[in-house]
Amino acid sequence: MCLAIPGQIVEMSSDQPTAALIDVVGVRRKVDLGLLQDDLPKPGDWVLIHVGFAMSKISEQDAIDQMNTLRALGEIDGAMQEVEGYGLDDRDDDGISDTADDYRRPAAYKDRVS
C-alpha cells in the first residue's frame, strides 16, 4: 500500500504537460507528475512513485537505496507488479511514443541494484 517506487523520467508526454514516461528497472510506464507541478521534473530526473503518481524528486543515489530497501523488504515483486499494472492494457492515448522495446529496455541502474 505504502510502496514508494523509484523511477527515472525518460520522456515527457507531448500532449499532457503533467504526464511522463518513466523507467523502473527497465519497465516503462506512464506516470502522472501532477503532484510535482510546482517543480516539474525533467527527463533524467529521479522520482518516488506511489499509485501511479510521482510524489517527490530524489537523487539517483536515493533511488538506488530505495530500490534496495524494497528488495530487502521483499517488496520488489509487489512493486514491479504495481508498475507493470499502471495504464491497464491500453497505452495508446497518452501522447507518449510506445514502441515495444520502450517498455523493456534495461535501465542504466538495473545492474547496480542486483
Binding site: Q37, M55, G85, G87
Partner: protein, 376 residues
C-alpha cells in the same frame, strides 16, 4: 557499489545498536509507537526487536489503511456494486479483505464486476473505456494516497466524465495519533513518525505532539539503519528530557511537505465530522469526503448506501492488537482460525498489518541477528 547482506553499512548498524544500548536507561521501560504500517512490516521482516534492548518495546500503531477500515465500509462499497451496471475498482490490497458476505475477490467469483487497479487514474481510464458502465473507485489510504485520488477526481471533472465516482475511505493520520494519546490505557514515550505520509504533510503537523503532549516524534525511513537511527534520536531526546519533532528521513521528506499535493486535497476533500476506525472507534474529523462541488463524483452521494455496521467477530481481538494493548500472538485466533491464507481480521490480510507481519517473520532467524554475528 557492493551490497552486504542486502543492507547498507552493516557495521554502522551494529554501532548504532550499541549506541542504543548505551543510551537506554536500564531502569526504564520505553514504549515507542511506530505509526506507519510500512515500519511495522520492516520491523518484523528485519527482526529489529532482536537487536534492541529488552526494555525498548515497539508498539504497532494504526497506520495500515486496510487494517483500520471497518468491515461495514467494505460491505457498503460492495452493496453499490451489486448493480450490474457498476464496476468495482480497487487496489490489490483490498481484494482479499473480508466483508460480511466475503471479500471483493469472492464477490468477483460470484459474478460481480471487480477490477484491480494500481492507480486511481487507471480507474478513471476504465470509466473512459466503458462508457456504458459506472466505475466506482473504492479509495483507501492515508495522506500518501489521498492526493492522487484528489487529482484523479479533478481530472474527471475537467473531462466531464460522469460515469466515474469515488467511494472515499481516505483517513488522516493526525487525529488517529491524537486518539491514541487520549486513550487512557495507552502510555507512550515517543513516536516513530510515518515516512511517506510525511512526504505529503511534512513535519509541521506533528509539532503539537512535541509541544503539547511533550512526546518526541522522529519521522523515519524504512531501512534498518533508518529506524535504528530514529530510535537513537528518540533516546537522546528522552535522556535530555526534550520533546521535539525531528526528521531522520530528510532525503525524502521535506519539512514543509508537498504543497501541490496538499492543494489538490484541499480542493477536492473536506473533513468528515467523524469516521469509524477499526479498533479505535469513532474519531472526529479523522477522514475525508468529497466537497459539494465534487458531489457528482462521490459514490456515497450518487448511490444509496446502506450504512452497514459490523462488529468484529467476538473472538478476534483486532481492536486490542491495533491499539497495541495485545501483541498479535496473544489474540485467541492468531495462527489457528486466523492466518494469512484464511484471514478473519484485516490485520492478517495486509502485509503491513501487524498480525501478518508477526505470522510471516517472527519464527525466522532474522537478518539483524545475522548482521550482528557477522560484524561482531
Amino acid at each position: 557499489m557492493k551490497f552486504v547482506d542486502e543492507f547498507r553499512e552493516p557495521e554502522v548498524i551494529t554501532r548504532t545498536a550499541e549506541e542504543i544500548r548505551r543510551l537506554a536507561d536500564p531502569k526504564r521501560h520505553y514504549r515507542l509507537m511506530e505509526v506507519c504500517g510500512g515500519h511495522t512490516h520492516a520491523i518484523y521482516r528485519f527482526g529489529l526487536k532482536d537487536i534492541l534492548p529488552e526494555n525498548i518495546e515497539l508498539i504497532h500503531g494504526p497506520g495500515c489503511p486496510v487494517c483500520v477500515l471497518p468491515m461495514g465500509r467494505i460491505d457498503d462499497g460492495l452493496s453499490i456494486a451489486q448493480d450490474p451496471g457498476v464496476i468495482f475498482a480497487a487496489f490489490g490490497d483490498m481484494m482479499r479483505v473480508p466483508g460480511r458476505q466475503g471479500s471483493p475477490l469472492e464477490h468477483k467469483a460470484r459474478g460481480m464486476d471487480v477490477r484491480i487497479v494500481y492507480s486511481p487514474s487507471d480507474a478513471l481510464k476504465l470509466a473512459r473505456n466503458n462508457p456504458e458502465k459506472h466505475v466506482m473507485f473504492f479509495a483507501i489510504g492515508f495522506e500518501t494516497t489521498a492526493p492522487s485520488t484528489a487529482l484523479t477526481i479533478m481530472r474527471a471533472k475537467n473531462e466531464g466524465l460522469t460515469n466515474f465516482s469515488v467511494f472515499c475511505n481516505h483517513v488522516t493520520i493526525i487525529p488517529a495519533i491524537r486518539a491514541i494519546l487520549d486513550s487512557p490505557d495507552m502510555r507512550l514515550d515517543a513516536f516513530i513518525g510515518p515516512g511517506h505520509v510525511s512526504t505529503v504533510i511534512g513535519c509541521r503537523p506533528y509539532e503539537w505532539i512535541a509541544q503539547n503532549e511533550k512526546t518526541p516524534i522522529v519521522v523515519s525511513g524504512f531501512e534498518p539503519l533508518d529506524m535504528l537511527q530514529s530510535i537513537v534520536m528518540i533516546l537522546r531526546q528522552l535522556k535530555a528530557r526534550e520533546a521535539k519533532v525531528e526528521n531522520q528521513y530528510k532525503r525524502v521528506v521535506p519539512w514543509e511537505g508537498n504543497r501541490a499535493a496538499l492543494r489538490a486535497m484541499a480542493e477536492v476533500f473536506q473533513l468528515r465530522p467523524y469516521f469509524e476506525w477499526r479498533g479505535l472507534g469513532f474519531i472526529s474529523q479523522s477522514a475525508l469526503c468529497l466537497r459539494d462541488s465534487y458531489a457528482q463524483w462521490d459514490s456515497e452521494q450518487r448511490f444509496s448506501v446502506p450504512g452497514i455496521r459490523v462488529t468484529d467477530p467476538k473472538a478476534a481481538q483486532c481492536g486490542e492488537v491495533l491499539k497495541g494493548v495485545l501483541k498479535p500472538h496473544q489474540c485467541k485466533l492468531f495462527g489457528r482460525e486466523c492466518t494469512p491464507e484464511h484471514p478473519i481480521g484485516a490485520l492478517m490480510v495486509s502485509s503491513e498489518g501487524s498480525c501478518a507481519a508477526y505470522y510471516n517473520y517472527e519464527h525466522r532467524k532474522t537478518a539483524m541477528v545475522n548482521i550482528l554475528s557477522q560484524t561482531a
